[in-house]
């Protein structure tokens, strides 16, 4: 019997006890000459089910979560050879043991013996787990069943239990987030124990290649993240310059000027645009916009040479450029800003429009002097969320802006961003404890904190806006 089978059986039992509990409640009801029930018979059934299922299932889940770790600890305590290993070797050995426990190889190594012990522990654990779960289920069932009588407040009890179930679900989501934060945080602390915080946050040279062998050259291992932060900000800035006015103006058109027929066509198209995977935007940036920007750059350079303008004549031009990525990312964000702005503009009460028009304002005067100012906090909130998105965007940059860390203000040049570096640091053949890999976590932490702050500001601004009309 596997875990899944047991879970299904538990579900079936839970369904059956519903009817048992319900039936007992019925037997008390007025139809059978009894007193008036406090709740509908169904609630007695629900209560029986919940009490039978929840404790058993809870213990089952928690037990399953810990049984592998406990079993391996018990196994280690049996083998002095394993106890002598270092932390890293031990985790390697344990991995092998766990694999051997399933595959049943016939070698006579220590690990294989340990595997046998391990799988035995696991077996015992499983049997014990089932036993405890079943006992709890029975206990829960009888605890409820024996208490069923007309005065029992089953409906209220069910309500209370449901609150606990919902609360648990909410906790799981929060714990996941906390787990993510800590996993990034611990690796980052590890990183900062090897690279100084000041170098990371203020250093201007990013070259994460480190020498794996003594004699290797070219691996300086420099972790100044400023070029990455700059690249991220630069690209997001260009994206927002494109997306903010375009999205806002389009939203104003859609919500204030467009007839319902036009709206019915444009809105779904924009939603399709919002659904395009970023990889596809990446293609577009790398194959279409990138070369266009490059040609434009060459053109500018030629003008610079002809007219003897030094800045233009010395322009560095490349196919992978900040401008190309910024443009395409801007286009990607437009639907995002548009739909958020559209929502806030539409939520400005019609009384505002009437009031302005009744004072002899034209439609545009009404829009720019009343509607947009009234919706501004919401629009700004939308912008901030859009910036978070731009900062977190990886694929387009990876495909069209390159991976060279450049500290440049020239939009025709190559830069790289935090997310892109994380991807390049973590993909391929990597040691998990090298500084290079750990740097990715520090970058991730920086990114996480940045977007977190932006989101908090955005939510705060949006909330403030809502309060104005309530």
């Amino acid at each position: 019997m596997s875990n899944l089978n047991f879970f299904i059986i538990l579900l079936i039992i839970a369904a059956i006890v519903f009817f048992i509990g319900q039936k007992k409640a019925y037997s008390y009801s007025m139809f059978n000459g009894g007193a008036k029930l406090h709740s509908l018979p169904n609630y007695y059934g629900y209560l029986t089910t919940l009490w039978t299922f929840l404790p058993a299932f809870g213990v089952f889940v928690i037990w399953s979560f810990f049984e592998s770790n406990v079993s391996s600890m018990l196994t280690i305590s049996q083998f002095s050879e394993l106890q002598q290993l270092s932390v890293d070797e031990l985790s390697l050995a344990l991995n092998e043991i766990k694999i051997l426990a399933v595959t049943n190889s016939s070698s006579v190594s220590i690990n294989n013996q340990a595997a046998a012990v391990y799988s035995e522990y696991l077996n015992h654990s499983f049997n014990l787990k089932i036993l405890v779960s079943v006992l709890l289920a029975l206990l829960g069932f009888f605890y409820t069943y024996l208490r069923i009588k007309p005065t029992m407040q089953a409906r209220n009890s069910v309500e209370k239990l449901i609150v606990y179930v919902l609360f648990t679900c909410a906790l799981i989501a929060i714990f996941t987030t906390v787990g993510i934060i800590f996993s990034v945080l611990f690796e980052s602390i590890e990183f900062f124990s090897q690279v100084s915080i000041t170098e990371f946050f203020f250093g201007t040279h990013w070259s994460p290649q480190i020498a794996i062998r003594e004699d290797q050259v070219g691996g300086s291992g420099s972790f100044g993240a400023v070029p990455l932060f700059w690249g991220t900000i630069f690209i997001s800035f260009i994206a927002m310059i494109i997306a903010a006015p375009l999205g806002l103006i389009a939203a104003i058109f859609l919500s204030e000027y467009a007839t319902s027929q036009v709206r019915a066509i444009i809105k779904p198209i924009l939603e399709i645009l919002a659904g395009i995977p970023t990889v596809v935007y990446g293609f577009f940036a790398a194959l279409t916009v990138g070369p266009l920007v490059r040609d434009f750059g060459y053109y500018l350079r030629e003008i610079g040479i002809n007219l003897d303008i030094e800045i233009l004549a010395n322009l560095t031009v490349s196919t992978e450029s900040v401008l190309a990525v910024g443009l395409v990312m801007g286009m990607m964000i437009v639907p995002f800003i548009l739909s958020l702005s559209d929502d806030v503009i539409l939520s400005v009460p019609n009384a505002m429009r009437d009031g302005s028009i009744a004072l002899g304002a034209t439609k545009s005067e009404t829009v720019w002097r009343v509607i947009v100012p009234a919706a501004l906090p919401g629009i700004v909130g939308g912008f901030l969320l859009a910036i978070s998105r731009a900062i977190g965007e990886t694929m387009i940059v990876l495909m069209a802006a390159g991976v060279a860390a450049n500290l440049t203000a020239n939009p025709m040049n190559v830069v790289t961003t935090i997310t892109t570096q994380i991807v390049t640091l973590l993909t391929g053949d990597q040691e998990f404890d090298s500084v290079k890999t750990l740097a990715a976590f520090a970058l991730g932490l920086g990114l996480f904190v940045t977007t977190l702050i932006l989101n908090i500001i955005a939510l705060h601004v949006v909330k403030k806006y809502r309060e104005q009309y309530e």
Partner: protein
């Protein structure tokens, strides 16, 4: 049911009382019909005059078309899709639906106050200065200050707000907000003020203040007010009109309408037999 309908139509065929006035009216409505989406008619053949510096009250049960007619007087109905109007409405003898008339400028001359106070989410000062700024009524800041002060004084709000002109208008109480909306309307220097149930969202004390204010404003403006409260109509108006199912049943001096109504429907309504 059908018979009743025919009877009602006959009953409503002609407006009784004195819909037209002697002398020069400020606003005249002649054979006004209003349609929503062509198939549903909201107003039928309305003829009525608004006298200068008088208050005309418009009463009647819900859905009788009084608000629709009011919104026709400054072409606010233009903003509603599918709303069309036939007949003639004139302001100072000029047809306001003719092609020469710019509805935007018309609305500056015929201001409107709404049922729910709707100050803009701006400061008290900016709320009042909004219209003057649009229409270039003040040429510099000190003139604008004067216009704002004058309008707030006229609306009876100056004393309460002179120390907090930079605070948001939305932070005022309901009655103050409504007076702010009236100040905002006055600041554009209109000839006519239309009020669509201006006190229905306010408490009795705020209502009394607004009614007093309307009484004072009468000397400078022509006012049309839609109201659900017959007491209010009796208290404030010079002439009173009763609407029923899109038709204007009776118009007369207010005291005559309330003491000696000519039409049975009017009598039924003001004695509270239906409505």
């Amino acid at each position: 049911m059908n018979n009743n309908k025919v009877e009602l139509d006959q009953q409503l065929s002609e407006t009784v009382g004195k819909p037209l006035i002697n002398g020069t009216p400020k606003i005249t409505c002649r054979d006004v019909n209003v349609f929503y989406n062509q198939d549903s008619q909201a107003i039928f053949d309305v003829n009525v005059d608004l006298a200068k510096n008088q208050i005309l009250a418009m009463i009647g049960p819900s859905g009788c078309g009084k608000s629709t007619l009011l919104r026709c007087l400054n072409r606010m109905n233009d903003t509603i899709d599918g709303c069309s109007i036939t007949g003639k409405i004139s302001l100072d003898g000029e047809d306001i639906y003719s092609n020469d008339i710019d509805p935007v400028l018309l609305r500056a001359k015929v201001g409107m106050v709404f049922q729910k106070p709707n100050p803009f989410p701006k400061s008290i000062y900016d709320n009042v200065a909004y219209g003057p700024r649009l229409h270039g009524i003040a040429t510099n800041n000190s003139e604008l200050d004067d216009v704002v002060e004058e309008s707030l004084i006229k609306a009876g709000l100056w004393k309460e707000t002179k120390d907090r002109l930079n605070k948001p208008g939305t932070g005022l109480s309901g009655g103050q907000q409504q007076r702010l909306c009236i100040a905002r309307t006055i600041a554009v220097r209109p000839d006519v003020i239309l009020m669509d149930e201006p006190t229905s969202a306010l408490d009795p004390i705020a209502t009394a203040t607004i009614e007093e204010l309307m009484h004072e404003l009468k000397s400078s403006y022509t006012i049309a007010v839609v109201t659900h409260s017959m007491q209010q109509a009796a208290r404030i108006s010079d002439r009173c009109s009763y609407f029923h199912l899109g038709r204007l049943v009776e118009v007369n001096d207010t005291n005559i309408v309330f003491t000696n109504p000519e039409h049975e429907l009017t009598e039924n309504y003001i004695t509270g037999r239906f409505g």
